[in-house]
């Protein structure tokens, strides 16, 4: 534990990073541009790394610093690079005019989710030892819920992918406060898993774009119980 004034300063710095983290989660819900979504995700990952560094300094944990470093390299640098390699630039230039819900409604629901996250984490926070009680836990859960919400209301593939990645960021944001000494091999594996995730989804989105000519995956609704044609695929497929 560092000396008291420094600890207090680090704690408020961490609270600042947490506040900004939550703000980016809201912004991802509200942003129409695909490129903007991706940039917000990068900012969010930087804030996650910052919080890991701050907590690492506060508790003198080399392990948290390593987590921050892994995040700093994989998410803001490698993931956008993989996406650029797998998807065409045209995908980024897209704007999403019509979400499932309009943006003010979306933000209201997002706000409700954040409040819900705060109340849901109260019993957990009262159960853990004092040094683990941190704003990271409710903010992380809020980030997780907002990511899931993004995934639910978006129709464009890349913003949906950003939603998934933002969920993982949220889980980690809570995780760095709760479980500080997770083996480093696990952290590395989770980070590389994120890269594989982006690669596989990128390949899938490219296939969808080539086949259907659009990345508006939210509009793919042919597989429903009401439609009898699930077996009636196009015949030219075999050619």
């Amino acid at each position: 534990m560092a000396d008291p004034p420094l600890t207090a300063a680090l704690a408020s710095l961490n609270a600042l990073a947490g506040g900004l983290f939550l703000l980016t989660a809201f912004a991802i819900v509200a942003t129409r541009q695909t490129r903007g979504c991706l940039q917000l995700f990068i900012v969010q990952s930087l804030l996650l790394a910052a919080s890991a560094f701050i907590l690492g300094a506060e508790y003198q944990s080399l392990h948290l610093v390593a987590v921050g470093a892994v995040n700093l390299i994989s998410k803001p640098i490698v993931i956008p690079w993989i996406l650029r390699r797998t998807l065409s630039a045209e995908v980024y230039a897209r704007r999403e005019i019509d979400q499932v819900l309009n943006i003010p409604t979306s933000l209201l629901i997002a706000l409700a989710l954040a409040v819900l996250a705060y109340f849901l984490t109260l019993p957990v926070l009262s159960a853990v030892a004092p040094q683990f009680r941190s704003a990271n836990v409710p903010i992380g859960l809020a980030g997780l819920l907002l990511g899931a919400y993004t995934l639910a209301v978006r129709r464009e593939a890349v913003p949906m992918l950003v939603g998934i990645l933002a969920m993982e960021n949220g889980a980690f944001f809570a995780g760095i406060a709760l479980s500080r000494d997770l083996p480093l091999i696990v952290e590395l594996a989770i980070a590389s898993d994120g890269l594989v995730l982006v690669f596989v989804t990128g390949v899938l989105v490219r296939a969808i774009q080539q086949r259907i000519g659009s990345t508006r995956v939210g509009e793919l609704v042919s597989l429903r119980e009401q439609v009898p044609g699930a077996g009636a695929t196009s015949t030219e497929e075999a050619a």
Partner: protein, 494 residues
């Protein structure tokens, strides 16, 4: 060193299949490696059944009763599906042989991930392998590259990864609960030992997050919506893996948490498991009645069976847990056979539309006979394995005095039984009308070019082998297998 070998073989096969020039040997390499893994897994299962825990690295790779059962089932379906693939994919993918390398590389990677889940004992590493099953099978689901297949793959990836993120938070909370209790390593065994000292709020939160997150991947209602899509659009041998064993190997992770609830004296959480399971069984039973695609029929039946296993595991008695393990065994063997039979039907009639298939018995007796056996077996007709396991579960429920649970379960199973056999009976014995011929002509599948009334040799072989297994397991359970099930059921409670 059998455990690392079992993991290295599929990895090696995946690498070999991915090499462009090797794609002609990829089917052979896959079959050889999966047969080798099956024999190693059988040897391991025999050793475990005789009472030893097999481990490669204590605290990292280790196999007990429950793990050995899952490992053996993964390698079994991995082998039958590999042999089946060699004929099935050669015929359906004849126009695009280059894609076969991609298929087998992903196939082996997928089997590798499923083998690793039960062997690894550190929960967060298990989470990574669960994630890897999603990522390696995503491109298998989209393999046929039709609009429907791509849509199914996207839904599958989206929902599974969403669930995985929730489960990740659950595992991190679980880790903090373990740290609060102190002193035990982060392994399944350490968690059970530390459970009495964990703060109950943390344990409950972790359990809820994990069962919701991984429940998505198991296909538990209400987050099951991706399952019938993915499990019907993938090539049939992949469906056999997805439906037969992937869901079960993820359910295994949830089952691993149950003894912690007993140790931490939280019996009411077990009731929630039962309720969660019952909802899945009920919803799936009614959805089975209204399907129009026979691969979706079997997919919904997977949702139903996952629910049954969860209900049985959620009950308190040893007998119910034995039933749950027996159900895992019978479901895996039967469901993989169902999709092999469905694949044979797809090859014969080139459509997945139930209404378009009438009187299959006149068109292709082999496909019709296997489809009929599959329908009877999965619905739970008397002398077959699923009937026995469901009977054991219901009996255990009655002994425990859980009459409402047993009543609802019986009702839902009966509805599903009726639904499955209604559709299958029409397909096999129904009178073909002019309308169906029209539908057949229109409703052709990606395999239209390969239309033929004879099945590939390897598919016939697997239909015979898997069908024989379905029948034999109904009347005879070998001693070591019984012992394995008993040991596995001990892992579900304290």
């Amino acid at each position: 060193m059998t455990l690392p070998a079992m993991l290295l073989l599929p990895l090696l096969a995946a690498v070999l299949s991915a090499v462009p020039r090797m794609r002609f040997v990829a089917p052979g390499v896959t079959v050889v490696s999966s047969v080798a893994v099956l024999s190693l897994a059988s040897a391991t299962a025999l050793r475990v059944a005789s009472g030893t825990t097999v481990f490669a690295l204590r605290g990292v790779l280790s196999v007990d009763g429950l793990s050995a059962l899952i490992v053996w089932l993964v390698s079994l379906v991995g082998t039958t599906a590999a042999v089946y693939s060699s004929g099935y994919m050669a015929r359906t993918c004849a126009a695009r042989p280059r894609r076969l390398g991609l298929y087998y590389a992903n196939y082996n990677l997928f089997v590798f991930a499923m083998l690793a889940i039960p062997m690894v004992v550190e929960p967060t590493l298990v989470w990574i392998f669960v994630e890897l099953t999603t990522l390696s099978s995503a491109l298998l689901v989209s393999f046929e590259n039709t609009q429907e297949a791509l849509e199914a793959a996207w839904k599958y990836v989206g929902l599974s990864l969403m669930g995985a993120a929730i489960a990740l938070l659950g595992f991190l909370v679980l880790f903090s609960a373990l740290q609060a209790a102190g002193g035990e390593p982060y392994t399944w065994e350490g968690l059970v030992k530390a459970a009495p000292r964990m703060p109950p709020a943390l344990l409950k939160a972790a359990f809820v997050l994990i069962i919701v997150g991984l429940g998505t991947k198991v296909g538990l209602v209400p987050l099951h919506t991706w399952l019938p899509d993915a499990h019907s659009q993938a090539p049939s041998p992949v469906c056999a893996l997805l439906s037969g064993i992937e869901t079960t190997s993820v359910l295994y992770v949830i089952l691993r948490l149950l003894p912690m609830l007993d140790a931490a004296l939280l019996p009411e959480m077990r009731d929630w498991v039962v309720i969660f399971g019952l909802i899945s069984v009920g919803v799936a039973a009614f959805l089975i009645l209204q399907v129009r695609d026979y691969k979706r029929l079997f997919a919904f039946s997977t949702v139903e069976h996952m629910g049954i296993i969860l209900v049985a595991a959620g009950l308190a008695s040893q007998a119910a847990h034995y039933g749950a393990m027996y159900q895992i065994l019978s479901h895996t063997v039967t469901k993989s056979f169902c999709f092999f039979a469905a694949g044979a039907a797809v090859l014969t009639v080139t459509t997945r539309n139930i209404a378009a298939v009438r009187g299959l018995v006149r068109r292709s007796p082999a496909a019709a006979a296997s489809l009929l056996l599959a329908g009877l077996a999965i619905a739970g007709a008397p002398p077959l394995a699923v009937f026995l396991s469901e009977f054991l579960i219901l009996k255990a429920g009655i002994y425990e005095g859980r009459y409402v649970v047993v009543g609802l379960l019986t009702l839902f199973i009966a509805i599903a039984f009726f639904g499955v056999l209604l559709h299958i009976n029409r397909m096999v014995f129904g009178r073909p009308s002019s309308e169906t011929f029209q539908a057949q002509a229109l409703g052709s599948h990606a395999t239209a070019a390969a239309i033929s009334d004879t099945l590939p040799r390897s598919c016939e072989l697997i239909l015979l082998v898997a069908g024989a297994l379905v029948i034999v397991l109904g009347v005879y359970l070998p001693g070591p297998l019984h012992e394995l099930l008993r040991l596995a059921s001990d892992t579900l409670h304290r």
